[in-house]
């Protein structure tokens, strides 16, 4: 018998393993939700019903035969539509690629299939993962990605459908990608957990490249614990992606006996929305029972300029043919038609300077973070913005996001979990950013916070 669609993976997998939940019934439940509720949020591009039922029947047979593969065996999931899937369209969120089929499975898709997870849907995303400079939510082939907490607000982006589908209980988990903010933003807006792994922890092979040295793939799910279980299945070396770390990664769900040490950048929440700031401060108070908290001042470096220049230069090259061919003029957001043009004249010396400064940045940040296990900050400076309004008034790179610039520029892992609600019932989030390859540490702190609070057990009303 199927329980709540919000059942965390550790519980759900035990029910599946014990034969209390049938993978086929479970998958049918989520397929029906994807088909009936997905369009309410513009969160789904394609429901993969035929494949999902085939994979679910296989999982059921194997589990009945005692061939249990692990936590994700028989568990439904959804893929951000920049992950290639053989025989199924991969749109990159872009109208011109609505029917395009890439004849390959991304490494993460293969890894999840090997883990016995069941692919139920390709999920909507911002066209080209936001790589054309979008400024408002209506920037996707399926329409503006709506937030299950309030359909008149944005789900966040660019892994919009991944966040919304998890929040609305359309899939137990989803994969997203982050170049700068694309996992943490939907996790924040939709009130779910989102894990951005260390750069190189997860193979990018078969995923759309926006920026080769910044792109990361990671899970969005109900809890931090879920994210750990999922990461274990998708992490590890891949000969197809030479940037992958050479060692496999094992999730450690045990709680450390020592108190955590949390650093907070001085003034990091000062320019945040007052309710976001208030919830963040309350979260820090709560965390004091399991952590010591100290202020940290980062050395003076142009973090945003460095990471933004790298992003602009690599994206200009990654999409050169698409931009030159005029394909961008067929995109949904009008600002994406011309948004990528200016960066095509970025000088090679400026890109190389950014990469040289990156070498300085990784060292000073490692040194500054040394006394702490993690840095904490609001996941985003504001809750979900209105669905029909610009969330960014000016060109990318002109707003301050030091955590995003440092975290992505240095390839550091971060997890976002909900830390409260605004008066208008929109979720807010807290992020924990760790040292390279320290996913187990950030997940342990996030789990500790989720043990002390119940924000992650709140779910959006379906009528919203």
């Amino acid at each position: 018998m199927i329980g709540s669609v919000y059942t965390p993976i550790a519980t759900l997998s035990k029910q599946i393993r014990d034969g209390k939940v049938s993978p086929v019934e479970l998958v049918e439940t989520f397929l029906n939700r994807l088909e009936s509720l997905g369009p309410r949020y513009n969160s789904v591009v394609n429901v993969t019903r035929k494949l999902a039922l085939k994979q679910a029947r296989k999982a059921e047979k194997e589990i009945e035969a005692g061939e249990y593969r692990g936590h994700l065996h028989g568990v439904p999931w959804g893929a951000k539509d920049l992950l290639s899937t053989k025989g199924i369209p991969t749109t990159w969120g872009a109208e011109p690629f609505r029917d395009r089929v890439l004849n390959t499975d991304a490494t993460v898709v293969k890894k999840l299939e090997e883990a016995g997870a069941v692919l139920c849907a390709k999920l909507n995303m911002i066209e080209f993962a936001g790589g054309m400079g979008y400024r408002q939510p209506n920037a996707s082939l399926m329409g503006p990605p709506r937030n299950p907490w309030n359909r008149e607000t944005w789900a966040g982006g660019s892994s919009s459908g991944s966040g919304a589908a998890v929040a609305a209980g359309l899939v137990p988990f989803a994969l997203g990608s982050e170049t700068w903010g694309s996992i943490l933003s939907p996790a924040n807006n939709c009130g779910v957990a989102g894990l951005r792994p260390t750069y190189g922890r997860v193979s990018r092979h078969g995923a759309m490249a926006l920026c080769w040295t910044l792109d990361k793939l990671g899970p969005l799910a109900q809890t931090a614990d879920d994210c750990g279980l999922i990461l274990e299945s998708i992490a590890g070396p891949d000969p197809e992606d030479p940037t992958t770390y050479t060692e496999p990664w094992k999730y450690d769900p045990r709680n450390p006996k020592m108190k955590f040490s949390i650093g907070v950048i001085g003034g990091v929440a000062d320019d945040a929305n007052p309710e976001v700031k208030e919830n963040f401060e309350k979260a820090l108070k709560t965390l004091k029972s399991v952590a010591s908290i100290g202020e940290i001042d980062l050395p003076d470096l142009p973090y945003e300029a460095i990471t933004r220049t790298i992003l602009n230069a690599e994206a200009a090259s990654a999409f050169e043919d698409i931009v030159d061919s005029g394909t961008t003029h067929k995109l949904t957001a009008s600002e994406d038609h011309w948004g990528p043009y200016a960066r095509t004249v970025l000088l090679a010396t400026d890109y190389i300077r950014a990469m040289r400064l990156r070498g300085k940045m990784v060292k000073v940040i490692a040194e500054a973070m040394d006394p702490f296990d993690v840095l904490a900050a609001p996941s985003a400076k504001k809750p979900a913005s209105p669905i029909d309004k610009e969330f960014r008034k000016s060109a990318p790179g002109t707003t301050k996001d030091i955590m995003g610039a440092v975290g992505n520029g240095c390839g550091l892992p971060a997890v976002s979990i909900p830390d409260g609600f605004t008066k208008s019932k929109l979720p807010t989030g807290i992020q924990f950013m760790g040292k390279p390859y320290e996913e187990n540490t950030i997940l342990a702190i996030a789990r500790a916070y989720q043990k002390l609070t119940d924000w992650h057990t709140h779910h959006p009303p379906l009528e919203s």
Binding site: A305, T309, A342, L346, L347, D350, R356
Partner: protein
């Protein structure tokens, strides 16, 4: 670059116009100019930091194939 467009900005914007000017409206062209300003501002900000000759790009090249 606040009010006065630098020569460098003029030259680079000329290149943007040369490449894509016939695809956009005057208003869009103005937005592209602002986008270029943000890119050049970032470049100027980065130039404040002194780099030494030995400060290499943080990207590693490795020959492919052969015996290591």
């Amino acid at each position: 670059m606040d009010n006065e467009e630098t020569n460098e900005a003029k030259i680079l914007f000329g290149l943007v116009k040369e490449r894509y000017g016939n695809r956009v409206t005057t208003k869009e062209l103005e937005e592209m100019r602002k986008g270029l300003e943000a890119i050049l501002d970032a470049s100027a900000t980065m130039k404040i930091v002194k780099l030494e000759n030995g400060d290499e790009p943080y990207q590693f090249f490795k020959p492919y194939g052969g015996k290591q």
